[in-house]
Amino acid sequence: MSVSDMNDTAFKYSATNGIQHEEALLFEHAHDAAESIHLPGVKGDMPNALAVFARQNPAGIPGLSEPETVRHFVRLSQWNHGIETGFYPLGSCTMKYNPRVNEQVARLPGLAHIHPDQPEETVQGALELLYEVQQWLGEVSGFPHVTLQPAAGAHGELTGLMMIRACLDARGETERRTVLVPDSAHGTNPASAALCGMHTVELKSGPDGRIDLDVLKAHLNDGTAALMMTNPNTAGAFESDVKEICQLVHDAGGLVYGDGANLNALVGVARPGDMGIDCLHINVHKTFATPHGGGGPGAGPVAVNETLAPYMPVPRIVKDADAYALQGNVGTSVGSVLGSIGQSGVYMRANAYISAFGREHLHKIAQDAVLNANYILHRLKDAYHVPFDGVCKHECLLTDEIQNRHGVKTLDIAKQLIDLGFHPMTVYFPLIVHGAMLIEPTETESRETLDNFCDAMLEIAAQCEAGDTDALHEAPVKPFRRRLDETQAARKPVLVWPA
């Protein structure tokens, strides 16, 4: 950035755009002369049984020294935007800041250096902490039982549907295989149903973005296995008919699966178990501030009521007097869904986070998340089209309808935000509105940050009104990589080196 750019605006919308140098692929950096690791050769003859597997040609691993390798990845990371570099209002993804103290707790040697197969009596402390999380998640969600096994939210969905299927089978209702999913649902819902051998019927949302009771009634029949509902839903709206919805599904002989992705809007205030839902997965990273999985360890624990309890995965963590144990054999269980009892390190962070708030203060997470989202909604509601009236929960939904009149689309607005130093909101989701912009600030942001973001959004809206739209179509110009050709990337992806 040049000195002349460093006016108030530049400071107000502060973000890093890293070191602006092109970075070659690791393979392009490679120079065979300097391999960083020298493996010893094989001593003596290779055992006959293994000889057939002996590599005939070099593996093609790039030859680089350790500092060269480290620098490559650190340079790449400087092009990135994360929650530590700036505001990250990605709706439906809940990119909340993860307090560092939780990392410290998870790294305590007694928790970090144990093995999943260690004898129970040597890991009583870790089991106690996991058991606590299990009990607290049950209390927060309003269910008597919780399994910590599933390793992600979508894995929790699959586990929940497996339990529902097992329950229906036990009732002799093997023909019930239809899962009703509102058209605003996360894409993982129908995917989980399909993976569980069931098929999905989509429910069209009502004019207020919520489940339409008449549409639901019309689709309930003796083939209905379950309804999957997200509450609050992906439009940031609370499904106010939730009790009647659950009653209708139960009367029709089905069960209600709760997608708990948005539990952070309810935590400590309202409990899905009290609303009539039979089972709920919880995205620990969204509600309890553990890092996002992103291919690493995640957690999607599932809470269930008494109806589904017999089918929970094993092993289960149980408490007997003062000792903790793993209970392995339960005849009606769907079995194990993970090679261990769950992602222990993630739950240690969640335990630290919940402990820090305590029973008295946990509701402040939900209150502040909802307040922040409504603050943004209130400041932007005149400049941007709001498809569904009323207060929102933890995220607010806008569209590009007003800006469309000036030829500006959601994608342009998102890209301009990058130039102003913010990660864009979620775009084009949920699918039930055209040109969706889903904004989720989370409870961890200050009013100053929210105001800066709103100012940026209002500045973009004003640019549209003034007809000053060329820059919006060009954006972003500040990051090292500018507007990427998403279409070409999907149609002609380059996935191997050399291309």
């Binding site: 894409g187 699918l431 998403e486 279409t487 999907a490 149609r491």
Partner: protein
Amino acid sequence: MTISANVKYTKDHEWVRMDGDIATFGITDHAQEALGDIVFVELPEVGREVEAGEAYAVVESVKAVSDVYAPVAGEVIEVNEELEGEPEKVNTDAFGAGWIAKVKVIGDGPVELMTDDEYNTFLEE
């Protein structure tokens, strides 16, 4: 956006062109415009029997993945294999080179199809 006069329409923005007992399916120009750049089309298998209203194909754009529903019941006799390499044909020529599948019609045919005028009115609503 164009609306072809030679085909019938569904409320889910598919079109069907009848030629004797052979029906050709595709998605409308309005649909491709709403979806944005199409990057992949999952075609049905030849020989598969589809019900009217059943999802027989999937179109994937940079924004979304959508099921495509059969306007009439029939047996798939041909699919547009060119879409495997050039899915953009759905964008550039939705009613022509962007056709998806041909079926031999089975049964009494469609239930609720619209003419071009009716579809135009439907879109305006």
